[in-house]
């Protein structure tokens, strides 16, 4: 507060004399036809830049995503609306003329780069319970911060065909095994947990299911069907691992007694149907109901005595012209990113299906961080961890303020996923 008072009280007067008139606009072209939104270190607001591109599409503009050009820059038509939006958001833009555009296109043509047309505004849904706090989900946070509109959906909507209008669906730390993130014993009595259990049980009953695990399995199946029909799925944290466990557990009891009234089948690991899962195979389930670990898919076991320390993960480099989808998903101004915990932090290599594409991994570690694949006509992307800017995230932590992390490379990966469905479909080759 004092810093702001200091600025307000007049220090800014002298400092401002040395600043350019419109600091976010670079380039002096008087005949600008396009606006380049650089995504390298010249950018002042990496995260809000995605929102700017997204809103330009909403307003009917068409743009291009220049893969690998200045770390994934955007090219938008010059318009007062975009200029105003950029000014309000603090996004750095460069006015360029037709000649410069041609020169950029030439450079893109000659290098491991590509320009992907952006023309469709993806309709975005975030799967979250109605009482979820906006600060407890990295995707909700970054969508809000970037200014990207989205709708919330939850079990009643998913079970009644509510996913049909959407192109993109995000899942965060939902436990699709229906075991309340396996906190039911360790956090017994906590008000937030009791509220969560009440809400889930009431929803299951209302939708005609005997218990929460049954409801969640059905929801997982609807989500898989959404992808199969051509939807784009992005999941983080526990939603990655438990979605696949729920899909693979058709007809197998993998839930503890506190969730469905019967103990887990001790032989469940050998009975799972991995062909129904999206990303994983052959995982061994964690048998202890009180250990907040689901299986050996996760490499880090954050809530167990076997917790592994955090390292850093590296993004893979793909061929922009041959693999534009994978290239889009890894556009970033940093190639090595500090890791961060989640209830599911990472994915063991030996638990990945053969057709899963690894987008980022930790060098030398038996786990990977960021994976992608196809299912039917759609695609899924899984990103381990809870909050890229809160590596040790614990229940009750202060919410992350993204204005303190406008260049967050981890959050950029989330936004790559949001924008990727906007890319013109015929360009997608992967």
């Amino acid at each position: 507060m004092r810093r702001r008072e200091f600025v307000r009280n007049g220090v800014g007067l002298s400092a401002s004399l040395f600043l350019p008139r419109r600091p976010w606009v670079r380039g002096n072209s008087t005949a600008a036809t396009s606006l380049l939104i650089p995504m390298d270190d010249a950018q002042d607001e990496h995260l809000k830049a995605y929102g700017l591109a997204f809103r330009a599409l909403e307003h009917g503009d068409r743009g291009e995503w220049c893969l690998n050009y200045r770390n994934g820059s955007f090219l938008l038509p010059a318009s007062d609306a975009v200029l105003r939006d950029a000014a309000l958001a603090g996004v750095t833009i460069e006015k360029i003329d037709a000649g410069t555009v041609a020169s950029i296109k030439g450079e893109i043509q000659a290098s491991n780069m590509d320009a992907i047309p952006l023309e469709k505004v993806p309709k975005v849904a975030v799967y979250a319970p109605p009482d979820a706090a906006p600060w407890d989900d990295a995707v909700t946070m970054v969508l809000n911060y970037a200014g990207i509109q989205f709708d919330r959906v939850w079990d009643p909507e998913v079970m009644t065909g509510g996913l049909v209008p959407f192109d993109w669906l995000h899942l965060h730390h939902e436990d699709f095994t229906g075991q309340y993130s396996k906190f039911a014993i360790t956090s017994a009595g906590a008000p937030w947990l009791q509220a969560m259990i009440r809400l889930h049980q009431a929803t299951a009953a209302r939708l005609g299911f005997a218990n929460t695990p049954e409801l969640k399995r059905a929801v997982a199946q609807r989500i898989a069907a959404f992808v199969e029909r051509g939807g784009f799925l992005f999941a983080m944290c526990t939603a990655t691992e438990t979605l696949d466990l729920a899909l693979a557990s058709d007809g197998v009891d993998i839930a503890a007694a506190y969730a469905d009234g019967t103990p887990m089948d001790p032989q469940a690991s050998t009975k799972l149907h991995w062909e129904k899962a999206l990303a994983f195979r052959d995982a061994q389930l964690e048998l202890s109901p009180s250990l907040a670990v689901f299986s050996d898919i996760d490499g880090h076991f954050v809530n167990s005595p076997d917790r592994q320390p955090l390292g850093a993960f590296s993004l893979f480099n793909f061929s922009a012209k041959i693999d534009p989808v994978a290239t889009m998903l890894v556009q970033n101004h940093r190639q090595v990113i500090p890791d961060f915990f989640g209830l599911t932090t990472s994915f063991r290599r030996n638990r990945l299906k053969g057709d899963a594409i690894v987008l980022a991994d930790e060098s030398g570690a038996p786990w990977v961080k960021y994976i992608h694949g196809e299912h039917g006509k759609g695609t899924w992307t899984f990103f381990g961890g809870h909050d890229p800017e809160d590596p040790q995230h614990a229940i009750g932590n202060a919410p992350t303020d993204l204005s303190l992390h406008p260049h967050s490379p981890g959050y950029r990966l989330i936004l790559n996923n949001v924008l990727f469905p906007a890319a013109k479909k015929k360009e997608l080759k992967t």
Binding site: R8, G10, S16, P23, L88, N144, I185, S288, L402, S403
Partner: protein
């Protein structure tokens, strides 16, 4: 601390056991340890296994296996090894500890209980087996099993056994009344644990504090009141906490002093009036337990704390006690006089204060002398005698002295002289508020652009004297006589004073007049104030519009980052109160 020591003990024993065998990498244990350190867990496991073939009860190898097998996804292999170890040495408490840990951490509570029972049969009765069991369960986040372990321990060892562990566990489980009950017993039996009890109970979420208070009130004992008093103080209720502590002091003087020091550590660094008064009263109570120069020193501290809190009556009372004490050394009398001087200044007795300062003369350090002189000077300035004020601090060339001399020049309307002195004082200061004020004054002088404006000085003196209503009127009238920049900046200042008086209507009118697009710094500041007013009025949409216009109209303003953040807060993009 006890729990930490208990946790450390097995590790230390293990380390000793290992170090005896790991001096060299030529020994199997040395090779295994080195492989483990290098992350070659498979090789480490293989060598540990070979050791265990010939020495099934080797503690070092068993602990090594306990470390590496989970990393290899081979935890179940631990159990046959433990069975062999027990067959080889069924009376080893070290082996039993490892067995208990492994069963507990894998969720097999019945087996853990069985081996704890065996452990207690071969060792004299003590809490270690139950602690080992409970700690391992807690490491696995198995709170229910941890409670089972502690319940079993209490049943075996008596009604007060494992109190600290139970208190911590119950608090973690949300049973705050149970936790309080345990802590009170622990503190009654071992008073030094009061610190730990208070420290842990302090962490209870604000919404649950009442549960802790109620439980302590229900306990009702002196120990419970002492805990409650310290907790209240920690939670910011300094007066209530200090009152409760003073009413529950132990009869033993040493214990009483220790408790008062605990309270003092909590309240003495807070700057609110209530905490200062609590500090003063606690120091006075402490002085009653002391004798000689120590008691005088503590009493002086108490008097100073009363004076700092604005309680001149009690400050004078204690200073009188010090003055009558024949054992007070001369240096302390100087300190007492300096404290008295502060009281006189606070009471507005300038002549008397100047006399005491003169008497103290060189007995005071130069910095302290100058600090008190500035206070007296400000006292004179506020009464309108700026000449006398300037004379008192004429030789003071410190930053604070130059700043004050600049302000005094301003009070008489000498803007040029004021500007020189304020610039000499520079932009930095130990007192940040002072430097902010100085920058504001320089901005105002620069905007007015004249060498002498007595009416402006008079208005600012009115403000410094505390008559903010008249200052707003004077500044508003004066603004009409200035050119654009001076008028706008004067109106901005008047608006801020009006806002501080909660006169929003006048403030808004003045801010509207100060918002001149050709004067970007003032206009941006005026709009920011208006936006804040709209936010306070819950007219968030209006505030957002104002902030957006500020950003678009004055993109180079230093206020733009703050405007963007505020806008982000209003649209729910960042949490309220961030940064």
């Amino acid at each position: 601390m006890k729990a930490i020591i208990v946790l450390m003990l097995p590790a230390m024993l293990a380390a000793q056991a290992q170090s005896a065998q790991t001096n060299s990498t030529t020994t199997p244990m040395g090779r295994a340890t080195m492989a483990e350190r290098n992350g070659n867990f498979a090789e480490a496991a293989s060598v540990y296994a070979s050791i265990l073939k010939t020495q099934p009860a080797s503690l070092g190898a068993l602990i090594g296996m306990e470390h590496v097998l989970p990393r290899l996804d081979r935890r179940p292999e631990m159990f046959p090894l433990l069975r062999q170890a027990l067959a080889a040495d069924s009376a080893s408490t070290g082996v039993l500890a490892i067995v208990v840990r492994n069963f507990a951490s894998s969720g097999q509570a019945d087996s853990a209980r069985y081996y704890v029972a065996r452990w207690t049969r071969i060792a004299p009765p003590n809490a270690d087996p139950y602690r080992e069991w409970s700690d391992a369960a807690l490491m696995a986040r198995d709170v229910a099993q941890a409670k089972l372990a502690l319940d079993a321990g209490r049943e075996k060892l008596g009604p007060t056994a494992l109190g600290i562990e139970r208190a911590q566990l119950l608090q973690r489980m949300g049973d705050l009344a149970g936790a309080v009950q345990e802590w009170v017993v622990v503190v009654r039996e071992t008073p030094p644990y009061r610190d730990a009890a208070v420290s842990l109970l302090t962490q209870v979420a604000p919404g649950n504090r009442m549960l802790v208070r109620d439980a302590l009130v229900k306990e009702g004992s002196r120990d419970a009141k002492q805990i409650q008093g310290l907790l209240l103080a920690k939670w910011g209720e300094s007066a209530a906490g200090a009152g409760m502590i003073r009413a529950a002091l132990p009869a033993d003087p040493m214990a009483s002093t220790a408790l008062l020091h605990e309270l003092l550590d909590i309240v003495r660094n807070r700057e609110d009036k209530e905490s200062r008064l609590a500090t003063a009263a606690t120091l006075e109570a402490l002085a009653a337990h002391e004798t000689g120069a120590g008691a005088v020193h503590t009493l002086l501290d108490a008097a100073r704390a009363f004076a700092d809190a604005g309680d001149e009556r009690n400050a004078r009372r204690l200073l009188a006690v010090v003055a009558e004490n024949p054992s007070a050394p001369g240096s302390m009398m100087t300190t007492a006089s300096a404290t008295l001087l502060g009281v006189l200044i606070a009471e507005g007795k300038g002549v008397e204060a100047e006399r005491v300062l003169g008497e103290l003369g060189s007995n005071l350090g130069m910095d302290e002398h100058d600090r008190l002189a500035r206070k007296i000077a400000m006292l004179w300035a506020r009464t309108g005698d700026v000449g006398r004020a300037e004379k008192i601090i004429a030789p003071d060339s410190s930053t604070a002295g130059l700043d004050l001399r600049g302000r005094f020049r301003l009070f008489v309307g000498d803007l040029a002289g004021a500007s020189d002195l304020l610039k000499q004082a520079g932009p930095f200061d130990d007192d940040r508020e002072q430097s902010l004020g100085r920058i504001s004054l320089l901005t105002l002088i620069q905007a007015v652009g004249e060498d002498s404006v007595p009416a402006l000085g008079a208005a600012l003196l009115t403000l410094a004297s505390g008559d903010s209503a008249r200052a707003v009127t004077q500044l508003t009238a004066l603004a009409i006589t200035f050119k654009d920049a001076g008028a706008a900046e004067t109106r901005l200042l008047a608006a801020r004073v009006a806002l501080a008086r909660h006169d929003t209507v006048s403030a808004l009118a003045l801010l509207q007049l100060a918002d001149i697009k050709e004067l970007p710094a003032t206009a941006a500041a005026a709009r920011m104030e208006v936006a804040q007013i709209r936010i306070a009025e819950k007219r968030e949409s209006d505030a957002r519009g104002i902030l957006e216009q500020l950003i678009l109209d004055f993109p180079a303003s230093a206020l733009v980052p703050e405007a963007r953040h505020l806008r982000d807060t209003l649209r729910g993009a960042v949490p309220v109160g961030g940064r």
